[in-house]
């Protein structure tokens, strides 16, 4: 840097001046306007996280009501109509409004920090995605409160969900909620992929990228390939229901199995879309608290990629009982079993990392240990379900309910809560209470196993899924009552978590920049991070920038008075371009309102699609209107 350009970040400026000038450049407008227009990935990320946890609590509440209903035989707490809405809403909310959004939200918050950039890629698209997600979730829940909640299951099999057997608007609401949330999911995936591939800190070659970032990259690509399938499926369903097409109607040459293929081609990868980010969280937590890099890094990366790839070849194992050709089924058995190898490798590597390192058993690591104990059960019962003959017995019984709660709560929620304890100090600047955290863990661990372990036995004893009640003589009452007791413990553990979050956010111990002595770049900036993330773009001189060198090296030379990012090459992260980042804008919100209105009204009349295009076109035009900046006009 030979020329002193006053607009650039340079060594001649002191840190406070740099900070102040960046703050002025990057901060959003004050007040409500700023809240509506901000493009800060951290604010939007927190918004996403809070919204997703609200949906988590609501869906958990529904599960609790279901457990109360099933606590004894022939119970009349809720009737069949409400019960069917309860489990449909529980499944749909957990999958579409909690699990995928929360994983993407954490990526939105952390990935730009972890790769050492100032902003996420395509920030307006990110802002748009949040509003679309919020509108979709609100539509579903307001409909439920108005007794128009969907009742055909989160999987909405045709023809039960078709026009003949589900008249009314309930299934339309469900199908359109899918369109909202998947649109927002795809949008976030694009932002995350762009950030990871083009905005990594100089020096962070792919082979130095943290496993967490790898996991988020794999997850985002999976979202891109899986979500369109379910959007097509739900659009076909809406068309069958509203404009009289016959995609799923066997009487007119359609096929209800088409729905199942399209749905599970999305639905099985979906599980891994939820699970793979959790693996990334586990890798971060294990490395930090074992005070050692994760064992066998290249194999771990390959395992993530292999899982992401194989996940698209398993969907038929949800359909073994439909009578597809047997040779084909055997292929899916083999594929479903093979996918447990990469997962087995990862489990081994984490334990090996603890073995080789010097672990500190803080709450996040405790959740990881709980994750291994619980998740491996789910993985092994998954191997059982991969077998065609055995699946014929276990399919659609409580065995499967037990299995996938071990996979999803064990494999995703345990790591997620570990991640909450781990990254809470980065987001708020304060540590969560450790004593409450450990109590939180043990309550959840015990309650979870009491609730879901007996389900495996009940399934073998013949209890089918999705029944609102059962007869007394079948011998299912005792264990069902026990499970309901376990659900009380889970509820308590979640209340404890909420209490801990509220209490610690106000009065928790101050964290400082790097309370855990972790290795990745998000810990190189103050907690909570400034809007522009880093005073200077950090350099990744090794795989563990905060462990490798005494002092983090930084890059200078970006503009201070304009929003500017450094783009790097995809493989080696060599500095490539200086790229402007867009300023805050209200148009993403307005575009989301236009799109959301079109989606909602299209349930009532197909003409809404035609008329609704006009406001969408207007808002998108305004969103992308050239600002006449020299870079954009080619006058550089």
């Amino acid at each position: 840097m030979s020329v002193r350009d006053p607009s650039l970040d340079g060594e001649w400026l002191d840190e406070a001046t740099t900070h102040a000038r960046l703050e002025k450049t990057w901060s959003a407008a004050p007040g409500l306007w700023g809240w509506l227009t901000t493009l800060d990935h951290k604010r939007i990320g927190v918004r996403y996280i809070v919204t997703a946890f609200v949906f988590f609590a609501l869906a958990g509440l529904l599960a609790f009501v279901m457990r109360l209903q099933l606590a004894r035989a022939e119970n009349h707490l809720v009737g069949p109509d409400l019960y069917n809405q309860l489990f449909t809403m529980h499944g749909s909310t957990m999958m579409f409004l909690f699990a995928v959004p929360i994983m993407e939200a954490i990526a939105v918050y952390l990935v730009p920090l972890m790769v050492g950039t100032r902003a996420i890629a395509f920030p307006r698209l990110l802002a748009f995605s949040y509003w679309i997600y919020l509108f979709g979730g609100m539509m579903l829940w307001i409909a439920f409160l108005l007794n128009v909640g969907p009742d055909a299951g989160w999987f909405a099999y045709t023809p039960l969900s078709g026009p003949q057997y589900s008249p009314g608007k309930r299934v339309d609401i469900w199908a359109q909620m899918i369109t909202y949330t998947e649109l927002s999911g795809i949008a976030v995936a694009i932002c995350v992929i762009g950030t990871i591939l083009k905005q990594r800190a100089p020096g962070m070659a792919l082979n130095r990228m943290p496993l967490f970032v790898w996991a988020m990259l794999v997850m985002s690509f999976m979202v891109l390939f899986a979500m369109p399938s379910v959007m097509i499926a739900s659009t076909f369903l809406i068309m069958d229901r509203l404009v009289g097409t016959h995609f799923y109607n066997p009487a007119e040459g359609g096929d209800s199995l088409l729905w199942q293929h399209l749905f599970w081609f999305f639905g099985h990868p979906e599980v891994y879309i939820i699970f793979i980010p959790a693996l990334g969280m586990v890798s971060s937590i294990v490395a930090t608290f074992a005070r050692r890099p994760v064992f066998a890094y290249p194999l771990m990366v390959l395992a993530l990629l292999a899982t992401g790839l194989f996940a698209f070849g398993l969907w038929v194992h949800h359909m073994f009982a439909t009578g597809l050709p047997r040779l084909g089924n055997s292929f899916y058995t083999a594929a479903s079993m093979v996918i447990s190898i990469p997962t087995g490798i990862q489990i081994f590597s984490w334990i090996a990392t603890m073995w080789l390192g010097r672990p500190r058993f803080t709450t996040p690591l405790l959740f990881v240990v709980g994750f291994i104990v619980v998740f491996v059960v789910g993985g092994l019962t998954g191997v059982m379900l991969a077998s065609v003959p055995l699946d014929l017995q276990l399919h659609d019984t409580y065995f499967v309910v037990g299995h996938f709660h071990y996979v999803l709560i064990g494999g995703a929620v345990f790591p997620l809560l570990g991640a909450v304890y781990y990254w809470f100090p980065k987001v708020t600047g304060r540590l969560l209470d450790e004593r409450l955290g450990k109590l939180n863990f043990w309550l959840l661990f015990v309650g979870f196993n009491i609730t879901f372990l007996p389900m495996h036995y009940l399934g073998l004893a013949g209890m089918p899924r999705r029944i609102y009640t059962y007869s007394a003589g079948l011998g299912w009452d005792g264990l069902n009552l026990l499970e309901t007791g376990g659900a009380v413990l889970i509820a308590l553990s979640m209340l404890l978590l909420a209490f801990n979050v509220v209490k610690s956010a106000r009065g928790g111990a101050m964290a400082g920049a790097n309370p855990w002595n972790a290795d990745t770049l998000e810990w190189a900036t103050p907690s909570p991070p400034p809007t522009f993330n880093f005073n200077h773009i950090p350099l990744a001189t090794g795989s563990h920038p905060l462990w490798d060198a005494e002092r983090l090296q930084v890059m200078r030379g970006l503009k201070l008075d304009e929003r500017e990012l450094v783009l790097t090459s995809v493989l080696d992260a060599r500095p490539d371009l200086r790229e402007p980042s867009v300023p805050p804008s209200i148009w993403p919100l307005l575009a989301a309102i236009a799109v959301g209105t079109m989606f909602l009204t299209s349930i009532f009349t197909p003409w809404a699609v035609v008329v609704g295009m006009v406001p969408i076109a207007i808002t998108l035009t305004a969103w992308f209107w050239p600002k006449g900046r020299p870079e954009e006009e080619g006058e550089r």
């Binding site: 109509d81 050692r292 064992f295 439909t322 089924n329 081994f348 334990i351 003959p389």
Partner: protein
Amino acid sequence: MHSALQALGVQAQHIEVVWRTMLWVCGVMYVLVIAFLIFAVSRHRRASDSVEPQNDSSQVRRMSIALGSWIGLMTIGLFGLALTSFLTDRALVHAADTPQVTLKITAHQWWWQVEYTDPDPSRRVRTANEIHLPAGAPVHLELASDDVIHSFWVPNLHGKRDMIPGRPAQFRLQPLRAGLYRGQCAEFCGLQHAHMALDVIVESPQDFAAWYERQLANPPAVTEARATRGHEVFMTSACNLCHAIAGTDASASVGPDLSHFAGRRTIAAGTLPNDPDNLRRWLENPQRVKPGNRMPVVTLERDDIDALVAYLGTLR
């Protein structure tokens, strides 16, 4: 009896072998993982915190060998399980090759229509929500659905098979011992999915043959006054619009065939035991017993309901 853990059919026994193998192999795998985890964790509880060398390359090398062995072990285990599964699947194809009884089961929201087929039309039997099978004989089932997707499942005898509209399916059973087995719809099919059970009565070939002959005959003519009144009510109110009774004018096939209703164990697809009190409750308001089911509330005088109960009780 309703459990996959007591296999009393040829097919269920094949599947039980897979279950046992899985349980053992997966059990051993789980114990290995947890043992490794416990050692990894407890190692450091004992060792003091600071003296440990940070990067012991010989330890890492040993760990790499262990990882290689673990991958090998997983591969062998999974290969064994996949092979067991595959061979069992083949065995299921060839089990019950020469069926002696053929019946067609059509699922409706929320009951089962049962038809025993025979080349001779006069020897066909139609019933509902209950099937009788001879012990030891291979049985061929034609499965179909009239409305949404249902799934046929009698866990003691075999796994399940989906009944998908537009896609008729074949299924084979071979029950081994006489007994009463329960089946239940296993695919979510709407409001009363919970109350869609099926009784499977496996009996000796003689008992089965006797039962079959009884089904072929018309129910006895009614003589007693109240039952005669019940017959009149059946034929003149809404009942005969949906139900059939052999030997009478009632021949509709919207609801279950009631020709030999009194011989069945349950009412409304396993919802209630079949006794006069329950039948009265059902006739008074089927929607209270099984909310959402397709049988409308037919308002009748108390006496007429009693008469109907008496009449239905004669349909042996």
